[in-house]
């Protein structure tokens, strides 16, 4: 299981008591708030690949995660 799958499944377990739609939204919001975009993208790819290590609610949440286009290059030097 990938780190992203393990961590997102942990999150899902803690929202299991909520109604499904609420739980999916809570999982997505939590991951958007605290996860690096590259990790979100890896999770999304797992979900799109129907990786069976993912909790069903994680799969649903991953598909609605806000995506970041390209990391902007703040490193560009004057």
């Amino acid at each position: 299981m990938t780190p992203e799958a393990r961590m997102s499944n942990d999150i899902a377990r803690h929202f299991k008591h909520l109604p499904n739609e609420v739980a999916v939204d809570a999982i997505a919001r939590h991951i958007e708030t605290f996860w690096d975009p590259a990790m979100r993208e890896r999770l999304r790819n797992l979900a799109l690949a129907h990786d069976d290590s993912l909790d069903a609610q994680v799969t649903a949440a991953a598909k609605v995660l806000k995506r970041k286009p390209e990391r902007h290059e703040t490193q560009a030097q004057p």
Partner: protein
């Protein structure tokens, strides 16, 4: 004044004690404790009128009005004792000459402190004291004896009864090598001779009974201030002597806090360092760099510049956190700063298999900057990151996160709070609106019922523990929830009403059961909930479910339902209930949920918003709170503001001149995972030994090996440095200029005692890296950094070095509305407006005991050592704890054939290590315990990747393990004897990081 100079040590010998100071560079000693209250009385002392609170002693009132009354048994950290008869005075209308320390001021009282009669009585009394005090006393000659100075001022040089001589003891004291001995000294004819023990068993101080006047200040300090009761007076009359309960200090219950040494008015109890180095010539007020209590100290020093030597560290009464008390670490374990292992030069190497090569700062900085830039060019902006340290100052931490965000151009900044109190930040922000404890330490003095869970303050936060014990001795009730029977369950004059030995991993079930009882029995504060909280009805319905009852949760918690119900009723019935917790709460897979559960409990019972109540996280390291405040988390800018907030980013973008990433960066464990997948290639680590402190050492080491450039900035070549390519030498707290923020949000100044031994400040090193990477960041001083913090962080708006120097310390928020700080938070409303009750569902950890790994390991800290031991292992503190020890219950030991002292294998699903065992009924069956202070043990070899669901704080407290005898033979008698027996063993704590 924070920095004091004295002309010469000779002056110190003349006046200490008589001018109202405990020493020439010490604080004024008012003789008896301060009395608070609104009612006042007016007294006239030597013609000077003064109004004082009713109950104030004549001795204190005199000192306050500037009249110094001689005293020996009195000091303002202890209750009046009235035994030495030096502070006698005459009072109009009163018979005799009462002791001013035990006489309270009365309205209209007229006092004369220096009449011929009282002076004559004092001289006679002093003469008697001197007749039993060696004329050649080392302390008197050195200027470290209040009594000698007082005798001089009283003109009591002539002693009609003769004085003993102790030249033989002088030699022994100088050598500091004499074993504990009892010897006679030459008593004058007609004076009874008595045995005179000299005890230098303690590595930091000696007791010389020849200099002792048996004033009991040490005994009272040990009981009243420290609360250990290790000292007593043995014998009677002239034969009475101070005793460490019949043994030597090292073998006794003494915890080496130094309170007795500080209280001693002679040199009977004296630091070895005073004997070795002599008296200090200057002092600097600063802040301890060990635990989250953040004690204030006066560093007493000899010499100037980098060659200065610290003679001793003396806790300051003005320190808001400690109010004059200390522990064995802060008081004595500062020698690491000058240890030979300190690395003072930058070093580089091409691969981690090469030898280190000392280089110039310029070459080292260039290697770091060029390497990081190359990695970003090849692998992307996010390929590098940094870790800031809770051991460093706010200013140093702020600069590190600035370097990462502005110079690195990403948010890959994290801090060691990740592995300790990150769930506190999450949980309290969700419920109360800000990521910090709600009270000051003084608050405990108004608490009626304390719930102490997952914390062991007597080991991990000993100075606060002493304050808590004082309150408990005064009648407050205590509930201890902890798998282990920690000292506070039962110690001298303290006994918990309830010890709830809940099983590791069951915290949330436990706290829900507590709330269930309170709600279903109608003990909740309905008015508080209605006025101050939201989501109330939903929570009440949730928690009233029978699934949360003590009876239903008993199978998870292991706590008998009736006992839990009684504890819940006790907590809810107290006028003021307060929760104190440590890493036994946070370091679980449900750590954040549990913090919210504790917040629920406080709100349910209305225990928020006034002194005596609240949620009190006991922070592990000196600046965990500050490191979090300063924006060390990858999702938050300083002041806990999310990076996605445009208005907040705009503040820094304008000031820093760089566009900031609006997305969260990588947490520490994410960095490791990304390193192993090849995405994360370079790391800057300041002041954290991740290879020893973070879980699953094998995983961490593999990640470090996978990186192309690891930069370690530290005092020592620590375990992480084994994987580093660049080593940048850091500075100890004795060299730093800045601030620490302790567990009560108190911002304290850290002042340089001597110049940086590496020639640079740590923030300047960080700035140099940023500049070398093309981002212009520089400051003229640490004060300038704090000014930037204050200008950009609302909760720090009123903070500056000048304000801190004037106020002593301040607790954030420091704003226009609270210009001197905020001791108690959420008084009229929560920071988020309404307090939010969160439905805290119990989700058991996935880490389970099995037939292969049938025991649960939990880890923590011990009094004498500190975290990975980098500092304390380089001091004499290792006298008490030279190795990590595995504690296990007798039943678990017996079925495995393990005896105390045996070497045992400790193995989990991820690794194994070997250490010695100690069989102890302190442990419950099925649970074993060890510390993580020694790299040779490497306890984190066995801890797993499991972590808190919300923050990824590691689940250090629950690891399924097996234990077995490691060698074919059992322990020899000598090996077994080397392991302290139960009761002697310093108590490991529930706290880490």
């Amino acid at each position: 004044m924070s920095i004091q100079e004295i002309d010469s040590p000779v002056d110190t010998a003349v006046h200490p004690g008589l001018d109202g100071f405990s020493g020439p560079i010490g604080e004024r000693d008012y003789g008896t404790p301060k009395v608070t209250g609104t009612a006042t009385v007016q007294v006239t002392i030597d013609g000077q009128p003064i109004d004082v609170p009713a109950g104030t002693s004549v001795l204190r009132a005199a000192t306050e009005v500037g009249v110094e009354i001689p005293k020996l048994c009195a000091t303002d950290s202890l209750k009046a004792f009235g035994s030495c008869r030096m502070c006698v005075v005459e009072i109009d209308g009163a018979r005799g000459v009462p002791a001013s320390c035990t006489t309270p001021c009365a309205d209209g009282m007229v006092v004369a402190t220096a009449t011929e009669q009282v002076q004559r009585l004092r001289r006679n009394t002093m003469e008697l004291y001197l007749s039993d005090h060696p004329e050649d006393c080392d302390g008197c000659a050195r200027g470290n004896c209040e009594m000698q100075a007082m005798a001089v001022s009283l003109d009591s040089a002539e002693v009609r009864y003769g004085r003993p001589e102790r030249t033989s003891r002088s030699a022994a004291a100088e050598s500091l090598k004499a074993p504990m001995a009892t010897e006679d000294f030459a008593a004058p004819e007609g004076i009874l001779s008595r045995p005179v023990p000299f005890d230098d068993s303690n590595p930091y101080f000696a007791f010389d009974a020849a200099s002792c006047i048996v004033c009991s200040r040490c005994v009272r300090a040990c009981s009243e201030v420290q609360g250990t009761f290790a000292l007593t007076v043995e014998g009677r009359g002239f034969g009475s002597t101070i005793s460490a309960s019949g043994t030597d200090f090292l073998s006794s219950e003494c915890v080496s806090c130094g309170a007795c040494v500080q209280a001693c008015p002679t040199s009977a109890l004296q630091e070895h360092s005073i004997v070795q180095l002599g008296m200090p010539t200057r002092s600097v007020d600063t802040t301890c760099a060990y635990c989250g209590v953040g004690c204030s100290f006066r560093a007493e020093v000899q010499g100037e510049g980098a060659d200065s030597k610290v003679v001793r560290m003396v806790p300051t009464k003005a320190g808001g956190a400690n109010e004059g008390h200390s522990c064995v670490k802060g008081r004595f374990a500062y020698g690491y700063a000058a240890h030979d292992d300190r690395q003072l030069s930058p070093m580089v190497r091409d691969t981690i298999d090469d030898e280190w090569r000392k280089v110039s700062w310029e070459e080292a900085i260039a290697k770091v900057a060029d390497g990081f830039k190359a990695l970003q060019a090849e692998h992307g902006v996010g390929a590098i990151g940094g870790i800031s340290s809770s051991r460093c100052t706010n200013e140093e931490v702020y600069v590190v996160q600035k370097m990462v965000r502005a110079a690195f151009g990403n948010n890959n900044i994290d801090t060691c709070a990740r592995v300790c109190h990150s769930p506190t930040g999450y949980g309290l922000k969700q419920t109360f609106g800000t990521s910090a404890g709600t009270q000051d330490f003084r608050s405990v003095e108004e608490t009626d019922v304390i719930l102490l869970i997952g914390a062991n303050p007597t080991d991990a936060h000993p100075v606060f523990a002493s304050r808590m014990k004082r309150r408990l001795r005064a009648g407050a009730k205590l509930i201890v929830a902890d798998p282990r029977r920690i000292d506070l369950v039962r110690s001298p004059h303290v006994e918990a009403e309830h010890h709830l030995p809940l099983l590791p991993g069951s915290n949330v079930a436990f706290i829900n059961a507590m709330a269930h009882v309170i709600v279903t029995e109608g003990l909740h504060d309905q008015q508080f909930l209605a006025e101050r909280c939201e989501d109330v009805n939903g929570f009440l319905s949730f928690i009233a479910d029978l699934g949360h009852s003590p009876e239903a949760t008993e199978e998870f918690t292991g706590v008998p339902a009736a006992e839990l119900r009684a504890a819940a009723r006790l907590f809810a019935s107290g006028a003021n209930g307060a929760v104190y917790y440590g890493l036994g709460v946070t370091e679980h897979s449900q750590g954040s949920t549990m913090v919210m559960g504790l917040a629920n409990l406080a709100m349910l019972t209305g225990n928020i918003g006034r002194p005596g109540v609240g949620i009190n996280p006991l922070r592990g390291q000196n600046n965990v709170q500050g490191a979090c405040d300063m924006g060390s988390f990858p999702h938050e800018l300083p002041g806990y503001r999310h990076v996605s907030e445009d208005s907040v980013r705009a503040i820094y973008e304008e000031l820093w001149g760089r566009t900031l990433d609006p997305e969260p960066g990588l947490r520490i464990p994410n960095m490791f995972d990304s390193a192993l997948s090849g995405d994360f290639r370079g790391l800057y680590v300041q002041g954290e030994d991740i290879a020893q402190s973070d879980p699953n050492t094998t995983h961490v080491e593999a990640a470090l090996r996978a990186m192309d450039l690891v930069v370690v900035q530290d005092l020592f070549l620590n375990e992480t440095a084994r994987f580093a390519h660049v080593f940048l030498p850091g500075t100890s707290f004795l060299e730093k200029d800045g601030t620490f923020t302790n567990a009560e949000r108190r911002i304290n100044r850290v002042r340089p005692v001597f110049d940086s031994k590496v020639g640079k400040d740590e923030w300047d090193i960080t700035c140099a890296i940023g500049r070398a990477m093309g981002y212009d960041m520089s400051y003229a001083s640490a004060s300038e950094i704090m000014d930037e913090i204050a200008a950009t962080t609302p909760t720090f708006a009123g903070v500056s070095f000048a304000r801190l120097d004037a106020e002593g310390s301040m607790q954030w928020p420091v704003t226009d509305a609270a210009p001197t700080g905020t001791p108690t938070m959420h008084v009229d409303q929560f920071v988020r407006g309404k307090g939010r009750l969160v439905e805290t569902v119990f989700v058991p950890t996935t880490e389970r005991s099995t037939r292969r790994f049938p025991l649960i390991l939990t880890t923590g800290r011990i009094l004498s050592q500190y975290n990975v031991g980098a500092q304390t292992r380089r001091t004499s503190n290792s006298t008490w704890h030279p190795e990590d020890i595995l504690e296990l219950h007798p039943a678990d030991a017996e079925m495995r054939g393990i005896s105390t002292g045996d070497l045992v294998d400790l193995s989990s699903r991820v690794g194994s290590t070997t250490l010695r065992a100690m069989v102890s009924e302190r442990m419950p069956p099925g649970v074993v315990y060890t510390t993580f202070h020694h790299p040779v043990t490497g306890a984190n070899v066995v801890t797993t990747d499991n972590s808190d669901w919300a923050t990824n704080c590691p689940e250090y407290k629950v690891t399924a393990v097996q234990v077995g005898v490691a060698n074919s033979r059992g322990a020899t008698d000598a090996e077994a004897a080397a392991i302290p027996s139960y009761g002697d063993l310093p108590e490991p704590a529930e706290t880490r990081a």
